[in-house]
Symmetry: C2
Subunit: 225 residues, 2 copies
């Protein structure tokens, strides 16, 4: 019996690529906005890796995004008068079309919470921007660690006071589900085949027999009935 | 400018006394349910004090409630077949009549979150039971400390990534507001003159010149316009 569903957010709930590109186009009209967004996002995993591997203490993702923005601006030959304003693009990401209605339906069946690498503040801004009806906010900040470190999934279950087998991780990324399954959570795969644009090659299909595989959050709600 | 409102919950948002007494009456019909609820709640502060003073590490309030229940059952000469079921009375506390509509109005003006001594799980259950539309859940658990320790207010501001003077603590208890003011938060007093029943003598009036004093959450929303 699943009593709580916890969700990856960037890519799984929200379309970060076209949303960030929209803000980039406003701030830096002279660059290709999608290329800039892709380059910015590509710095995400290496920045977290240094924390996962213990070379650096936990720092909120907002700050990593900000550091990465400086690096990408230099690469694109851009000087921003107010980089903090563009950094807040990550607080204004559009949910995929099924997400709000899907979460509303799922919330009637179980507790729902993000289990993202984003900070509590970032998740709060995203929820207010997109109308995501979370019951609480879990994830990296309460664990002071980054997914797929086991601590993040385990801290989220501990905060819910539930054993891992009563919690289901929902993600569009096979690696995230593998991290959750490794510590005993149930898993649901919801593909987002355009997260990385039309040329996406990763995560188009489930790579393991996850507990549930759904076409979107509304389908997931139907399957949980 | 206040960007977030954080709330005491037990007494300020919810009527714990009559709600707990209702569950006590169902589980232990032979005792005076309000007396039992009062006795149970009277153990709350001493239990937290041992943690505040460093005699014991942080333990979630759910567990302190459970320990206190055993003590009170012994005092009342009661043996419960399923004490955990009665302990969950704290997850089913009715909001005061103005709270849900008041929080909806306040949420349109600022971020709203509980800053309670209750755990993330307990706050999540209460929000789902009462329809409290929190943006996120802050308070004791993210600080691993109990109010009025400064760490609880400061950890809540830090999680919001806001300086204390942009955050307002809302409470029916003067001591809670004093704790928040001591570390730089704005303060709002909303009296709940029947929290402790008809004979209440504490917290009927503000004891300091708090930044706002409101009759209820709807009045607070009006004053924040």
């Amino acid at each position: 019996m699943v009593h709580a569903l916890i969700f990856d957010v960037f890519g799984t709930c929200v379309d970060w690529r076209t949303s960030v590109a929209r803000d980039v186009a406003q701030h830096i009209p002279q660059v290709n906005a999608l290329d800039f967004a892709d380059a910015w996002r590509a710095e995400y995993d290496p920045a977290m890796a240094r924390i996962r591997e213990g070379q650096r203490g936990y720092i909120a993702l907002d700050n990593l995004h900000r550091e990465n923005l400086d690096r990408i601006c230099e690469r694109f030959g851009v000087t921003l008068p107010d980089p903090e304003s563009l950094n807040r693009a990550w607080e204004r990401l559009d949910p995929w079309p099924d997400v709000v209605r899907g979460l509303q339906a799922l919330k009637r069946k179980a507790m729902i919470a993000p289990c993202s690498n984003g900070s509590i503040a970032l998740m709060t801004h995203l929820a207010r921007y997109g109308g995501l009806p979370w019951d609480c906010i879990l994830g990296a900040e309460i664990a002071q660690a980054y997914k797929p470190s086991p601590a993040v999934y385990m801290a989220s279950c501990a905060a819910l006071q539930l054993p891992p087998h009563e919690v289901m991780m929902v993600a569009a990324h096979n690696s995230d589900l593998a991290g959750a399954r490794a510590v005993g959570l149930k898993t649901a795969f919801v593909p987002r085949p355009t997260e990385h644009g039309p040329g996406q090659i990763l995560d188009l299909e489930p790579t393991e027999a996850w507990d549930l595989i759904a076409t979107d959050f509304l389908d997931l709600a139907r399957q949980l009935t």
